[in-house]
């Protein structure tokens, strides 16, 4: 078996929701050959992400940032003969990356939209106004209040604000 560079990192991933199946990978490469992104660029290869996670090569995953190139199509996960939930592992790795201050700007923006508007893609006065002429009913109100409570309990808002500071 590969020598683990950072055994704590491996524990960190496998103990996270969605990260549990990391242990089952036997590096067959079915994921890489099913991946639409890996076909176009060497910057992302799901098999290597898993390999580096198992080996505890934290820097290669968090700092080099391949995990942000997953397009979440779930083909790899569907076809994995070992039942490794690769797409879910990418989310688990992104969650860890964020806690350590690595969050791409586009994601900060979408998370901020959620915090302010209750929607990742906000509606505007323009989009609201064109509904009636089209015969669409007025938009219902957003549940921003309950949402803010959820985001506060889970420390989502705090985490995103911190990532914003780091990104500055």
């Amino acid at each position: 078996m590969m020598k683990k560079q950072n055994p704590q990192f491996y524990e960190q991933v496998t103990s996270k929701l969605g990260g549990e199946t990391l242990t089952k990978c036997f590096q067959c490469g079915t994921c890489a050959s099913s991946c639409p992104v890996a076909k176009l660029t060497t910057r992302f290869n799901p098999r290597l992400v898993i390999k580096n996670a198992v080996a505890g090569e934290k820097e290669r995953i968090l700092v080099d940032g391949p995990i942000w190139l997953c397009c979440s199509c779930y083909n790899c996960q569907e076809r994995c003969p070992q039942g490794v939930e690769i797409a879910e592992i990418m989310y688990a790795l992104r969650n860890i990356a964020l806690k350590e201050g690595h969050l791409p700007k586009a994601f900060i923006e979408m998370a901020s939209n959620l915090m302010v508007e209750g929607r990742v893609v906000p509606t505007s006065a323009f989009t609201a106004k064109r509904r009636e002429p089209l015969g669409l009913p007025p938009l219902k109100e957003t549940g921003i209040e309950p949402l803010s409570k959820i985001l506060s309990v889970t420390s989502f808002s705090k985490t995103v604000e911190k990532a914003k500071e780091v990104a500055k």
Binding site: L17, P36, V37, L40, T41, W68, L69, C71, S72, C73, Y74, N75, Q77, E78, E85, A87, E88, Y91, A92, R94, N95, L98, L103, P104, K105, A106, F107, M110, A111, L114, G118, R119, V120, V121, P122, T123, S124, T127, R130, R131, L134, G135, L136, L139, K140, E141, T142, G143, I144, P146, L147, K149, I150, L151, S152, V153, T154, F156, T159, V160
Partner: protein, 291 residues
């Protein structure tokens, strides 16, 4: 009449009124009543899962609880919303510990996830509640000279262990629904491959390359139009065609229709009553063909 709680999501009301309009018309014509859910939020999609998986589950559970309160199953028009909500719904129904943990978070909002309702994509409503036979009985204008490329996208089908919507490598549901309109659902290479949509906004070049390969294959198969069932797939191919033109000088000019638009045309809805003019790739050639 079957009634559903409609979860509209963010992208459709913000950017694709034509999708919402056609969906409402088609479902109403076929006897499905929609109740717009009040106080919904974003569904907890991949960008939010990327920040924190548990927050995304809590957000999904909160929204599902709104339909539970009305004693209604929930229906979505967006495959992204469908995946986030249906995945959470199944997971939280199955995993007691996780459900308790999420309900502790929801308690702060005064709500509870009970797990007694289903989350459906409208394709399931059309196939299972209305039925293909009934749809065929309602066709006013069979689209029988159209060659349609069906595009399933990813989050309608995967992860199949939780979504269980159709066979993941050989799905039929959308092809059957296209053929119910009288049109021919054609085969094209790599039909089930992703549109690259989720990379748009931060890896635009890669996203466009993925969409470009789709358009090449669709074009080679001599499709009259593409049919999508997700706002992200729609943008990737509709707006995407303009970008392919300016970046690669490739002209496809293949109209992209949301499935309910195709359905409405076959149900006899006047094209003028659909907001087809909001599409970025012109649909005139298609309307000409079915006139």
């Amino acid at each position: 009449m079957t009634t559903y709680g409609l979860f509209l999501g963010c992208t459709i009301p913000a950017r694709q009124p034509s999708y919402e309009l056609a969906s409402r018309k088609a479902l109403k014509n076929l006897g499905i009543e929609l109740v717009d859910l009040d106080k919904t939020t974003c569904c907890g999609p991949p960008p939010i899962e990327s920040v924190d998986v548990k927050t995304s589950l809590a957000i999904a559970a909160y929204n599902i609880s709104l339909a539970e309160e009305l004693d209604l199953d929930m229906v979505t028009l967006c495959s992204g919303c469908f995946q986030s909500l249906a995945k959470a719904n199944v997971l939280l129904k199955e995993e007691e510990h996780l459900r308790e943990e999420i309900n502790e978070i929801l308690a702060k909002t005064g709500r509870k996830f009970r797990g007694n309702k289903d989350v459906k994509h409208y394709l399931q409503v059309l196939v299972n509640d209305v039925g293909l036979v009934e749809i065929k009985n309602n066709i006013a204008k069979a689209l029988d000279n159209l060659r349609v490329a069906s595009f399933y996208g990813c989050h309608l089908l995967r992860p199949s262990s939780l979504l269980k919507l159709d066979d993941v490598e050989r799905p039929r549901v959308l092809d059957d629904l296209i053929e119910a309109t009288g049109a021919k659902s054609i085969y094209y290479r790599n039909k089930l491959k992703c549109c690259g949509g989720l990379l748009r906004g931060y890896e635009d070049d890669l996203a466009l390359e993925i969409a470009r390969e789709k358009m090449m294959n669709i074009s080679k198969a001599k499709a009259d139009c593409v049919t999508t069932v997700c706002p992200f797939c729609f943008v990737a191919l509709d707006m995407g065609q303009l970008q392919m033109k300016s970046k690669f000088n490739e002209v496809y000019e293949i109209p992209v229709l949301h499935y309910p638009e195709l359905l409405c045309l076959s149900l006899g809805v006047d094209p003028k009553d659909l907001a087809l003019g909001t599409h970025r790739t012109k649909v005139d050639s298609l309307l000409e063909k079915i006139r």
